[in-house]
Symmetry: C2
Subunit: 346 residues, 2 copies
DNA sequence: TAGTAACATCTAATCGGTTAGAACTACTCC
DNA sequence: GGAGTAGTTCTAACCGATTAGATGTTACTA
């Protein structure tokens, strides 16, 4: 079979007996009007010939590729998409963009990885804008943000409010506030010794949740006991050791705010193994609202984070920035609520 | 700040006092040689001006965008990236492609969703090739494959051997064989009543695993008891009911082949709740080798599926097809091994 | 009826690269 | 000295679209 010849613009113009300009006007519904019968002729030619506009050529001329980059890092790039966090954001992102005929190019990175390859991508005029989510807040990350800013690409950060100083927008939820609310809720239920099972403290998220926990205790006049703060790892296994630590204390807590649902579920499993009833002997509040929590036994009380929404809002914001010619003038922060989902563990 | 003017190869040519052709030769190391000092002059101009080649223009001329599409469907597109299956494949895919300066555009779909939007993408000349993973094997899926084949894009299917008849390549692992081996292993350990906890049977994967289980029993002269086959859902919750069903049988099984690790872990949890010891009273073999299984108590025996490798091989194969002018002449099937990982549950 | 506004269409430049073919240089070999 | 050759470099066509400006109609207005 001979290699099917590509059908271009010109072919359509010839077949319809018009100029290529008119074909463009018909295909794009503008920017100039066309008479009814010419329009019909062109449409017929398009469908007769099986014409499909070439997005690359269009992109070259119009400087719009309808493609946005999703740049994500983690301490191991192998985990980037395995983390349900990024997966959910990506889900929201693609859902929203697809509806508007835009596409997502994914770019996972290791923390600290050489940025040469990334810069080549960013400067290749291949992307209309970026959604980025970087897990840490080190000087290296700042340097990376600087490089990204230098490209002048419209950019929305996930969960990195500091990014506005680079002219980026951000979609965030209030981790600190969520943790504060979780802790306050436990206090309102009468708990006085409340533990915090902390995630990997290299992550902004883990630190914010720890800070919220501390602030709530302080604001309610409760002392902060460092022995009640334990953990430095997102790996669920870590919850086992943390629970053992808590139970070994002279005065164990009666409730725990746990930095993720994964950790919380494992913690509860460990508690059960030691015949500690949840929530009667130990109340537990998780973080994230993962599907497994809903089905757990008892179902997990947690702080729900609207990650899919986050992705959608990011897409929304980004498209707005892309519309606006001067994207840095458009930068905004959008704050999404973190809400307590009361189920069976607190 | 004035909008930074784009630096094009013309600017570089002017600055270096050469023609644009030479700039191209230098940037691409060919296809024609350049003298040493001209080369130096051009490189200096490039770095002085901060020139970055425009990938869109290059793509237009050379018909190579260095972008490949990852098309994935599921019964809910919301689950596409949450499934650790697709996440792992995507990880392998991006890892391999990134190393070769290629990019991945993701396109999640719902089963049965209208393909108009997808066709627009595929025909837009934006992609050099495709990696696809479709979960079912219905006539609708065949129709979709037909449409994809019509675009003449090089294409690699994940886990869909039948795709060769469209001129696609495929990277597969042998689900049926894996399940067969798991079952045979249990038989070799002396088990005679072996149950199968099945996944959602709309999925090819679930059906293949069921078939392998059956074949192993038959080949070893054991009867197939339909009461020992239960389940039609990937949701871990379903494992609870399945276990209850098995335990309620007149003659319960002494071992189970479970269609996924997620299901297996939940099943074990349920077994423990009923004081059934694993593996002493009930041996369990899962499928997939998810991280949580390694850390479970006892650690889960499972059939390991090399999903990250799968993604890498798919990338490999696809790039080869893209190199070859006539990609349909290149189609191949690559079979990856599924191996038993013996840990604590069987 | 001439002048003009509104509309539809065509012409051709442009986006930023790649590459075949022509042209120039320097050198070798009879 | 002239032809042949290899090594470089230049010229200009081309990839497939978009769009400003020119042009040609038709309709309306004074």
């Amino acid at each position: 079979m001979a290699p099917k010849k590509r059908v271009t613009h010109q072919d359509v113009a010839r077949a319809a007996g018009v100029s290529t300009a008119v074909v463009s006007y018909v295909v794009n519904n503008g920017p100039r009007p066309t008479s009814h019968d010419v329009r019909e002729r062109v449409l017929k030619a398009i469908s007769d010939l099986g014409y499909h506009p070439n997005a690359v050529a269009r992109g070259l001329r119009s400087r719009r590729t309808n493609t946005i980059g999703y740049i994500v890092n983690d301490y191991s790039s192998m985990d980037v998409f395995l983390s349900s966090y990024n997966a959910q954001v990506l889900t929201g992102l693609t859902a929203e963009l697809k509806a508007r005929e835009h596409y997502v190019l994914v770019y996972p990175m290791d923390v600290g990885e050489d940025v040469g390859s990334l810069e080549r991508l960013l400067n290749s005029s291949r992307l209309d804008g970026l959604v980025i989510r970087l897990v840490d807040e080190t000087p290296e990350t700042d340097a990376l943000l600087e490089r990204i800013a230098a490209t002048r690409l419209p950019c929305v950060c996930i969960e990195q409010a500091g990014a506005v100083r680079f002219g980026f927008s951000a979609v965030i939820y209030d981790d600190r506030r969520g943790s504060y609310d979780a802790t306050s809720y436990l206090i309102s239920r009468g708990h006085r010794r409340i533990g915090h099972l902390c995630g990997d403290r290299r992550y902004v998220t883990a630190r914010a949740r720890l800070a919220g926990y501390r602030a709530a205790l302080t604001d309610h006049g409760l002392p902060i006991d460092d022995a009640l703060i334990y953990g430095n790892d997102w790996n669920p296994e870590a919850a086992h050791a943390a629970v053992m630590h808590m139970l070994g204390l002279h005065a164990p807590p009666t409730a725990m705010v746990v930095a993720s649902d994964d950790l919380a579920l494992k913690a509860i499993e460990t508690l059960h193994m030691h015949n500690i009833r949840v929530p009667d002997d130990m109340a537990v509040i998780g973080f994230d609202d993962i599907p497994a929590g809903r089905n757990a036994n008892p179902p997990l009380t947690t702080m729900r984070i609207p990650l899919v929404d986050l992705g959608q809002h990011a897409a929304d914001l980004l498209l707005e920035m892309i519309q606006a010619e001067d994207s840095t003038a458009m930068n905004r922060i959008e704050l999404l609520p973190v809400e307590l989902v009361r189920r069976g563990t607190a």
